[in-house]
Amino acid sequence: MNYPQENSRQNAVTDSIFDHDHALPAPESPGDIPAELLRKTPLNLPNASELDVLRHYTRLSQKNFSIDTQFYPLGSCTMKYNPRIAHAMASLPGFARLHPDTPAPAMQGLLQVLWELQEWLAAATGMAAVSLTPAAGAQGELAGVAMIRAYHHARGDTARNKMLIPTAAHGTNPASAQMAGFEVIEIPNLPDGDLDMEALDAHLGPDVAGIMLTNPSTLGVFERRIAEIARHVHAAGGLLYYDGANLNAILGRVQPGQMGFDVMHLNLHKTFATPHGGGGPGAGAVAVQERLKPFLPLPTVTKAESGALRWMTAEDAPQSIGQLSAHGGNIGVLLRAHAYIRRLGRMGVGRVSAYAALNANYLLKELQKLGYQVAFPERRASHEFILSVSDLQQASGIRALDVAKRLLDFGIHAPTIYFPQLVPECLLIEPTETESKATLDRFVAVMAQIREEALAHPELLREAPHHLPVGRLDEALAARKLDVAAALS
């Protein structure tokens, strides 16, 4: 047995699962499998007691910030409350134990849920049809741009190999377009945050497949000339892709379908309150206008006249871009999104963006009063907004990173920093609609204190965080010596 040395583990900071190994005999090898196919190198996973496993991972969980324990105003990530009822419903054995190859008649309950969700997401976005299969926003984007290509090709229009993307877009947009085989052309934004129409017009032509936009944009403001952009792109034969990352800003108020978008993805883990899970699983359903419906990724759920539900296959939809994962997508996540929408209903969904915007605009005003600089002061904030601390950098060398790290000391998760890249030393703040005024007021009070500290005691920020399990990390060392798996002892 291996007894870890207590004195080498200050406050159990370095507790490792590999400290809890017990020697247990390996079972005998089966006689009917040839020896050369059997395991040669010993497996060497630790054999820990169940109680030690429980303690180890419970303690690890306590080193995390999360929505359930902290205010988490992480811009562009929509860290709203993940209702526990949604988790309970997705965990019901009647759903959790369903094998994907169960014949449709034996899984009507699940198919009913998925079919309703398809209908509801179409209704919420003003689009004609939905496929739920993409596993995350990035896969939804890939499906979306692939559908754009399939649409042009089906019309014999095969020369459109360019995708236009604003400079301020999320990095996934160009990465997805690239992965789908498009050449990416970046379109700049104007100083007021709107897209540069002249630059757009200069690039439109018979080689442009479409444009990928977020609205409100990543700059936290609504693209006011969206109808005009849609007209110009459509007139040039291109299609409009809507990145649903910021859908929470307009849910129940403006619909991508109405703005002229042809295809979009939704981040159900943002707008529809499914958990982020420390980095997934997400769900990136795609929604399209009627003319793109034949190209939706498979499988989708279809309803016969009898009311019976079943998965669509390639025989039903020969023009589909195909399958993106082995089965029907992240169904457990879809179940949660369904429960969320059903709980909120028409009225509840309609209120989301109003309170998301109220919280963002309230915070913006209160922080402005403290002296923080707003990136687009003349514009109405959407569900999020951008501060720049360039003034602090000039005054005392304090950077956005330092403000972010100091917030952690107060039990508040840092906002998104250094995105969008256009605004120097920026913090992108998204409170979401599920936070109360009291929580926002406390955040304002903490930001007031941090601003004073930044000017009077900048070292407090530069060395922050002080009260977490670890301080700032040596990330260069991590990449240079690259220890990415525990060595065998």
């Binding site: 054999n47 690890l60 995390n64 860290m79 169960t102 995350a136 999320h170 997934g280 998760h413 990449a479």
Partner: protein
């Protein structure tokens, strides 16, 4: 208002602070022609009524004893796995971009990577991908980047067809050709290809779509002798019993990828699962997805952080190794706890029970008139049963006996009409195997 805490007084105070008189005014920059005020959504439900409605839906999915596999497997999940994984601190955290506030998730991912490297016998594992099939597509793209100029991949015809479809979708977008590697219809096993052409890599599935074990050593050696990388497609539970990809052939496989679902992930109709991807250290910069490394903090304390982020989309944008942002964090958290709970011993024991059940059921079914087993080769926990009548009809009839009897290969456009792919796991007791035999017997007699 569900999940919105503001009362009327607070809303009014906040609007006043912003200098507005109504919530509608918050949208004054949006052209009114674009604004909508209603959607075709149902009315909201109280939590009480919602639960009742969804419990009804869940119950209407017939409870079945599961003999189906084909890439998704019914395994026992110890109670502690989701008890811990569903803790709010894991469940509702974001990707660990602020390492000081995410040491829990980061250490879990580091332990996960460690477990996967030990299972696969390779040096580096990423922090997971969406699922096994999309992970295989990423592995192929990775092999193409490593090899440089090649433009195709050798793909076995006995790879799971759903995985093949994902390769068609993802690799097809980049005009990468998939060159089929045929199998011997008699044995169900791969034949050595005749030439490598301009392929960058060969996919080697251990276990193949018929549940059979391939001669992975000679396949790997053939790939290397022809200048190809070998991509191992493996089942993580089976690796507790079967040779690790790092030990295949003279030099070992270069990349290993697989569906992680058997490691503590409920079936849930097909997802969310997770894909694992491991490789030799030399290829780490071509590895897509998140990667966690151990380092120290400013005071020299051991700590964990995301590393090699410059490969990723949020920095490299269009030049990234992949467009992927997330891993499947929560699934991997559960899988890590699952693997830690079972340990080497538990995984080996589970693998052995799965295998023993498969042997036992096969023995018992031999007694039934008219049934046969088209393939003689070794298997892990899944094999093809050949029935004298349509496997689809038999599968459907057995639903009435509370059994999901397997997957008719006809649904995959493989094998013969009577072929049924049958899987056994540790969830099935010997009495369940007898139930299966007797029910199948009575269904065959009635045909």
């Amino acid at each position: 208002m569900p999940y919105i805490p503001h009362d009327a007084e607070e809303t009014a105070a906040m609007l006043a602070a912003v200098g507005l008189s109504s919530l509608d005014a918050l949208f004054d920059e949006i052209p009114s022609s674009l604004q909508v005020h209603d959607m075709a959504l149902p009315e909201g439900l109280s939590e009480r009524v919602l639960r009742r409605e969804l419990e009804g839906r869940a119950l209407s999915n017939s409870p079945l004893l599961c003999f189906a596999g084909g890439g998704a497997y019914a395994h026992h999940i110890p109670a502690i796995v989701w008890e811990i994984a569903a803790r709010g601190e894991f469940y509702s955290a974001y990707t660990p971009y602020q390492p000081e506030a995410s040491q829990g998730t980061l250490q879990v991912l580091y332990e996960y990577q460690s477990f996967i490297t030990r299972l696969t016998g390779l040096e580096v594992s990423n922090a997971s991908l969406y699922d096994g099939a999309s992970g295989l597509a990423e592995a192929c793209l990775m092999a193409l980047r490593i090899q440089g100029s090649e433009k195709s991949i050798l793909v076995p015809e006995n790879l799971l067809p759903s995985w093949r479809k994902v390769l068609d979708t993802v690799l097809g977008m980049q005009q990468i050709r998939l060159i089929p590697v045929p199998y011997d219809a008699r044995t169900g096993l791969l034949q050595l290809p005749t030439e490598a052409g301009d392929a960058a890599a060969m996919i080697i599935p251990q276990i193949n779509a018929f549940g059979l074990l391939e001669a992975v050593d000679s396949l790997t050696d053939w790939a290397h002798a022809h200048g190809l990388l070998s991509i191992a497609v493996v089942n993580p539970l089976a690796l507790a019993m079967l040779k690790a990809p790092g030990d295949w052939g003279e030099q070992g496989a270069d990349i290993a990828v697989g569906e992680g679902q058997p490691m503590g992930i409920p079936l849930t109709g097909g997802g969310p699962y997770f894909g694992f991807l491991a490789c030799r250290k030399a290829y780490v910069r071509q590895l897509p997805g998140r990667l966690v490394a151990k380092t120290v903090d400013a005071r020299g304390r051991e700590a964990y952080c995301l590393t090699l982020q410059a490969r990723e989309q949020h920095i490299r944008r269009g030049k990234a190794t992949s467009n992927i942002c997330t891993n499947q964090g929560l699934m991997v958290t559960a899988a890590t706890i699952h693997m830690a709970t079972l340990g080497s011993h538990g995984l080996q024991e589970t693998a052995q029970i799965c295998h023993t059940r498969a042997q036992q059921l096969r023995e018992w079914l031999k007694e039934l008139p008219g049934v046969s087993f088209p393939h003689a080769g070794p298997f892990f926990h899944e094999w093809v049963l050949r029935l004298p009548v349509s496997a689809v009809k038999v599968r459907d009839a057995l639903l009435g006996h509370g059994l999901l009897a397997g997957i008719p290969l006809q649904e995959w456009h493989m094998g013969e009409a009577g072929d049924l792919l049958v899987c056994t796991t540790e969830l099935l007791e010997e009495s369940d195997l007898l139930t299966y035999r007797d029910a199948l017997h009575s269904v065959l007699e009635a045909q």
